[in-house]
Symmetry: C2
Subunit: 493 residues, 2 copies
């Protein structure tokens, strides 16, 4: 095959193990042979009916379902770029992303309609007919590792989402980094209930499973009872989750008597993992592995492998084998052990840049390939890094990143808001939730509920603060710049 990218993986895997089950969904099994054939037909049909060519974008909006997986691989087969959309985004946010990505087609999941969204759509009711119209003749575009495989949107300090471009090479090398640390076998049963529109589920579970010939048990979303049911009935061996998912499981009444004996590797990431949570799993005799990453690094940067997962609990581990991490002190020198430093990542897994955002790309990527994470870490004498703070002010709520600047921007659109700041406060269930501190305009009388209602529909639900508090003033430095640290001290408890 000339195609060296992700799109060729179903065919490469089907060459080896055509009859193994690739995907189980709602009780139906799809073998690798079927996956390969369906992906090929879909690619041909997308090219024929929507004119999808190399470099074009193919968007997908929907919760986890087989068409999401097939669209990802079919886009790759054509050398086109997969753009998975966060289903939790509000309509204006989705419109913004679609106008930025300009996909040739938006493939819709079963539960979605495309009302009000720009561009051409492929509704779920037409999906099978379109797929069946595609030629079974193998597609083989010369796709290389440097070609862009997907664009994943991530917000940032600027408020507007940016599309992180990940190449086929980025995803491939991330897979190798993972395989060095996690010896996935050929008979893994991989439960995916975290959303595939986030990099972790896609890159840490789906892609490695197809490489090794494992079976993915695909779930539309996470549910505690269903997770226990599936672990027991499907004999799940691998699962990825954000800390809040693992927290829900451990606090469930089923936790004590559930049969978890099939589990080999639990992968946790997407947010800081509380030590007590890790210990709860370790005390159960489970291998609970965590790391640190970001969409821009496809995503793995640091990983705490099995060998020292108990001894170094609470740290995010050491750099992955093929990646490098450095911590830079405020004066630009390398941070010494015990000293905080901003975390930079370099390696074949680091993105080439943001889609159509050369300035934003240049801000985070240096000429020699270092990606500036905006997070602060402290390494111990053995090089194990603890993530201590986030320069970017991001709030991580249930595994979703919430950027205060974006929420503040939406709040400022309300007439009653003179000044505002959004901070994260600890939450037992979600890790963190947002709290908005608002200085009202003189004479304005909006209640907190009214401000929350104002945000509803403008922002994804997970971005909307849980608390709104009116304050007389916000702390600032001499230059008038808002100071978040004292705010967190005053209001973050």
């Amino acid at each position: 095959m000339r195609n060296q990218g992700m799109g060729s993986w179903p065919a490469r895997r089907a060459r080896m193990t055509p009859e193994r089950v690739a995907l189980s969904y709602r009780g139906r099994d799809h073998t690798y042979r079927e996956l390969c054939e369906r992906v090929n037909r879909l690619a041909c049909a997308l090219a024929a009916s929507f004119g999808v060519r190399r470099g074009d974008r193919v968007a997908f909006l929907g919760v986890n379902q087989p068409s999401a997986v097939e669209t990802f691989f079919a886009a790759g087969l054509l050398g086109a770029v997969f753009v998975p959309l966060n289903t939790r985004l509000a309509p204006p946010e989705l419109r913004y992303v679609l106008q930025d990505a300009e996909p040739s087609v938006l493939v819709l999941g079963e539960e979605r309609d495309g009302d009000g969204l720009p561009g051409r759509h492929l509704p779920a009711r037409d999906y099978e007919t379109l797929l069946a119209s595609g030629s079974p003749e193998p597609v083989d575009e010369p796709v290389g590792h440097d070609d862009v495989c997907l664009i994943m949107y991530t917000s940032g300090t600027t408020g507007h989402p940016k599309g992180a471009m990940l190449t086929h090479g980025n995803l491939t090398w991330n897979t190798f980094n993972l395989l060095v640390d996690v010896p996935l076998a050929h008979d893994e049963v991989v439960l995916i209930s975290a959303p595939l529109f986030h990099i972790a589920a896609l890159a840490q579970t789906l892609v490695p499973s197809v490489l090794k010939g494992g079976r993915v048990v695909l779930e539309p979303s996470f549910d505690v009872e269903r997770t226990f049911d599936l672990i027991e009935s499907e004999r799940v061996t691998v699962m990825f989750g954000v800390p809040s998912m693992f927290g829900f499981l451990a606090r469930s009444p089923r936790w004590d008597k559930a049969d978890l004996s099939s589990l080999r590797h639990l992968l946790c990431g997407g947010a800081p993992v509380p030590e007590p949570l890790i210990r709860t799993y370790q005390e159960r005799g489970l291998l609970f592995l965590q790391g640190y990453g970001m969409t821009e690094a496809a995503p793995g940067a640091l990983f705490l492998g099995a060998e020292r997962s108990v001894e170094k609990v609470g740290t995010a581990g050491v750099p992955h084998f093929f990646s490098d991490v450095r911590l830079v002190a405020p004066d630009g020198s390398p941070a010494r052990p015990g000293e905080p430093g901003e975390l930079y990542v370099r390696g074949p897994n680091v993105m080439p840049g943001y889609w159509r955002r050369p300035e934003a790309s240049a801000e985070v990527l240096s000429a020699d390939g270092w990606f500036r994470s905006g997070d602060v870490g402290v390494a111990d004498e053995d090089g194990y890094v603890r993530i201590s703070d986030r320069i970017k002010d991001v709030i991580i709520s249930g595994g979703e990143n919430v950027y205060p600047a974006e929420v503040e921007g939406a709040l400022y659109e309300h007439a009653a808001v003179a000044e505002c700041a959004v901070i994260g406060v600890p939450d037992q269930k979600w890790g963190e939730v947002g709290k908005a501190l608002v200085v009202p305009r003189p004479g304005a009388t909006a209640a907190p509920e009214e401000l929350l209602k104002h945000l509803d529909g403008r922002l994804a639900r997970y971005k909307i603060p849980k608390y709104v508090e009116f304050v007389a003033e916000l702390p600032k430095n001499a230059a008038g710049k808002l100071l978040k640290a004292p705010l967190r001290e005053l209001y973050g408890g």
Copy 2:
């Protein structure tokens, strides 16, 4: 690290697991921290004392010993090219290779002296002193995947050995291909008694072990008793061998009572693997995995994974995940299932060419990246390939390739030889051995023993035919071209 190549692997591994044992040799354990430090010092010392720079060659002559491993990684750290020499070569053959490779230094194993060999030498007695003189300051050359990592000499139809250049990327991708099929864990104990100057031991065992953090038990050479001792005492989990090695073990009186319970994966290759041998191991409950490869593909092309190792026994399997194989019928069309075709390989593991031999490279490498193996295979309906014949006429004796043209060339230097042809004949112990068929010059009276004595010292011992037979004439076609097929039929029994 800027170094993305093999040379950086000890440091990358030491970052993760500094205290794990990398190498056990003669009862002494070397941790990854030690390996990393020693490789770094050696690299600095080779640069300082022998002027080794990027692209320069560093040769090694000796049986398996820690300095072979260290020289391989140290060369890679400098971006220099490792040239391991076959210890079985006769002095004129070694001189030829050294004159072709022009190394900056020849590192000598403990059991060797460099008498009569060209260039500068590093004798074993000076090795530790030199290494200790090297700076511990980390070396970090910007070595990429396209840089040449090593040159391995292989003979061919032309008679003279050619240096197959393998890049860091070639070896890296071969490792990934292997890891897809063989789920190496982090606690493997890898017995290496096959010589590291052949690609299989280096690329299928040493390199993957360092990637995963396994422990290599290094032996200077293969010995049946010692192998059983080590499997039992070191609890060996992985072993590579050529078929004759596995044959010796299975025919040993110790076979029946040996404790082989620690073995997880036996990897066999380098020559056609007899089906009864595979079954002997499988009946013992062992996972006996085989493939097909060549130095030029670093080396894996086909692999028969665990899942169908019994069902498809006798075939060399299907293409590795990231590599492609095609079979080409004599008329240039793709061979259909059941039809023989010449085997071509393409993928990121295929060499860029032979050292300083553009014509020889162009003969075997097409513009679009296909390597022409010279071997013939037949695929079944499932794509499993059985290697059926070798266009190149190569004889594989105890895992060493013997090219008849080279042996015939040496025979022709004897005055009594008018015409000759060397063919392979089956041998219980070595798989194949050479048989020379000689038409004597009119009036000449040389005995077979005299011809064998003539070859001694000119050729490596393993290349010298076991049998010499005088014949009245050799079969030829109308154009006078020697026909080997009827020769094999007449004399190959």
